[in-house]
């Protein structure tokens, strides 16, 4: 019956259903660690999501006020435990910015090599865990097989597989062992086909596309407004990468390296001819694009690692040793953001003349990425909440500090 002929009395009465409060977490298979999402659901449709964090809070910043910067490196390993190298790099560069300390070119190449290798590992874990959230278990096992090889390389380099504490303010703990660079080369050559396997199994998989395309669309304005950074921001088409647009003391490391920033500018990704095409259903800024940006960044990082190996081999000189343990910090404040795999990881240090900083601050990218989940998850199904949270690639260590 067309609406206007309805007399005012007989309004369509919807069956009143009451909402249910559902706790997804802190122990839940797909909340990537101890994150609790309090869902208010009406049947399968999620009315509101309130994330509760703080279950993994280890007072990293309070510790920072009682130990010297070099002693704080192990704490930075445990912020984003999937990309510990990038965390160390961020903190080391911030302290060097405060001290005004310049490291040798050879050290910079080694740092780029190690940071990009860790980015590959982190992105592979993010991609395959996302596949696991959506139900396909096989890519998860394949991805971890490749990551094991990277961890073996790091174990040979600095003795640890997860919390390396390798890049320290002033340089790196010790130089790369003999033959290590050839092992990196071999790893890269056999890794390229594996990326295509993941593409075949996930990116162009019809069911994966149906589950992710058009789900959790994040507009560029909202992304910037909520401070989202990294693949989440680039997934929404904002062409912003600190390795190219960052502060000089960070972008100096990447001078002389050619790489593309993966963001859909002008309707197409840079040289995307050999990757699976963007499916028609995918909307810019949805979960699929975030996943796709990460997969393409893996390839860029592989190119960067190859260039770093070449440059490291051709530069003479020695790798710098870290600064003295009790180095006095000058008065002043320094804040620096670096491009970690999950997004822009910012560190701030306030020196007051003694060797222990007055205040230390870690600004985490997943913290802001998580804050936008509440906006994206209104009115979606429960399965989509898992898809959206998975596409944000959250690590709770970094969020809770």
């Amino acid at each position: 019956m067309p609406a206007e002929r309805l007399d005012s009395g007989t309004v369509e009465v919807d069956v009143a259903t009451d909402e249910m409060l559902l706790n997804m977490g802190p122990q839940h298979p797909s909340t990537h660690g101890v994150l609790r999402l309090a869902l208010r659901t009406d049947g399968e449709i999620v009315v509101d999501v309130t994330p509760h964090i703080g279950y993994l809070h280890r007072c990293a910043e309070k510790i920072g006020e009682n130990v010297t910067p070099r002693q704080w490196i192990p704490v930075t390993d445990r912020l984003d435990y999937l990309a510990a190298m990038n965390m160390n790099l961020g903190w080391a560069l911030t302290v060097e910015k405060l001290l005004g300390h310049e490291v040798s070119e050879k050290t910079q190449h080694l740092r780029v090599l190690v940071a990009e290798l860790n980015r590959i590992a982190s992105h592979v874990v993010a991609a395959v865990c996302y596949g696991l959230d959506l139900g396909s278990f096989t890519p998860f096992v394949w991805g971890f097989r490749e990551r094991e090889k990277i961890l073996n390389l790091f174990e040979e380099l600095c003795g640890a597989r997860l919390t390396y504490s390798y890049i320290t303010p002033g340089g790196v703990t010790h130089d790369a062992p003999g033959g290590w660079l050839d092992k990196c080369d071999d790893f890269l050559t056999q890794f390229a086909p594996c990326v295509d396997e993941l593409h075949a199994l996930l990116t162009s998989n019809a069911i994966f596309v149906r589950r992710t395309a058009g789900v959790g669309v994040l507009s560029p304005a909202m992304a910037i407004d909520y401070g989202c950074t990294g693949p989440v921001l680039r997934g929404s088409g904002v062409d912003w990468d600190l390795r190219r647009d960052g502060e000089s003391c960070y972008t100096r490391m990447y001078e002389g390296y050619e790489f593309e920033v993966i963001a859909e500018t002008g309707g197409s990704y840079p040289n995307d001819e050999e990757y699976p095409p963007v499916p028609p259903a995918a909307v810019l800024g949805d979960s699929w694009h975030r996943f796709y940006v990460r997969m393409l960044e893996v390839v860029q990082s592989m190119k960067l690692v190859r260039q770093a190996i070449e440059k490291y081999r051709n530069t003479e000189g020695e790798v710098d040793k870290p600064i003295k343990l009790k180095q006095k910090l000058p008065e002043g404040e320094a804040y620096l953001e670096t491009e970690a795999p999950k997004g822009q990881m910012g560190f701030m240090i306030i020196g007051d003349g003694s060797s222990v900083p007055w205040r230390v601050r870690a600004r985490s990218s997943s913290f802001c990425n998580l804050s936008v989940v509440r906006e994206l998850c209104r009115g979606v199904l429960i399965a989509d909440v898992v898809a959206i949270v998975g596409s944000m690639d959250l690590v709770m260590g970094e969020i809770d500090r």
């Binding site: 809070h57 401070g227 912003w240 502060e247 002043g332 822009q344 205040r359």
Partner: protein, 176 residues
Amino acid sequence: MKIENMLKQLEDRYGRWITGSNAEVIDPWIEVAPQRLPEAARLLRDEPEWQLNMLHCITGVDYFEPDEKKAAKVDWQPHVEVVYHLSSMVHNHRLVVKVMLPRWKDGVEGQLPELPTVSDVWSTAAWHEREVYDLIGVRFTGCEDLRRILCPEDWEGHPLRKDYRQPPEYHGIKTG
């Protein structure tokens, strides 16, 4: 240098609410009066030549020296400083805005200092303000649900304050 003339332009145009600035340090900053913060934030974001559309993070710093010996040597008065790191993706430049607050509201121990919120200008500020409230203890008026974000809801005290004593136990659990 670009940042120096930016600060000069800011001062001569908005002298009324910029109460201080410092260009020589590593990260040049300007200081804003607490009450004028929302207006300054909106201006900094919307003016075409600044367009600081990205709020990186809000940090609370507690300047207070507990033991007297060192307190004598220090040149600043005890206060709480809230630092805003802004940057513009359009012009690719950065700015630090600081706000100085008394440690306790009008001197009364336990009364948290007040500061108007900027979460309506940058939405990311909501969570950062909750964290500064949780760890440093600054009440952001106008922030819709100012709850503790990292510590449990019923935790007493603000851990990152220099004179913070950790309670011996929490709900019967020894806190070490």
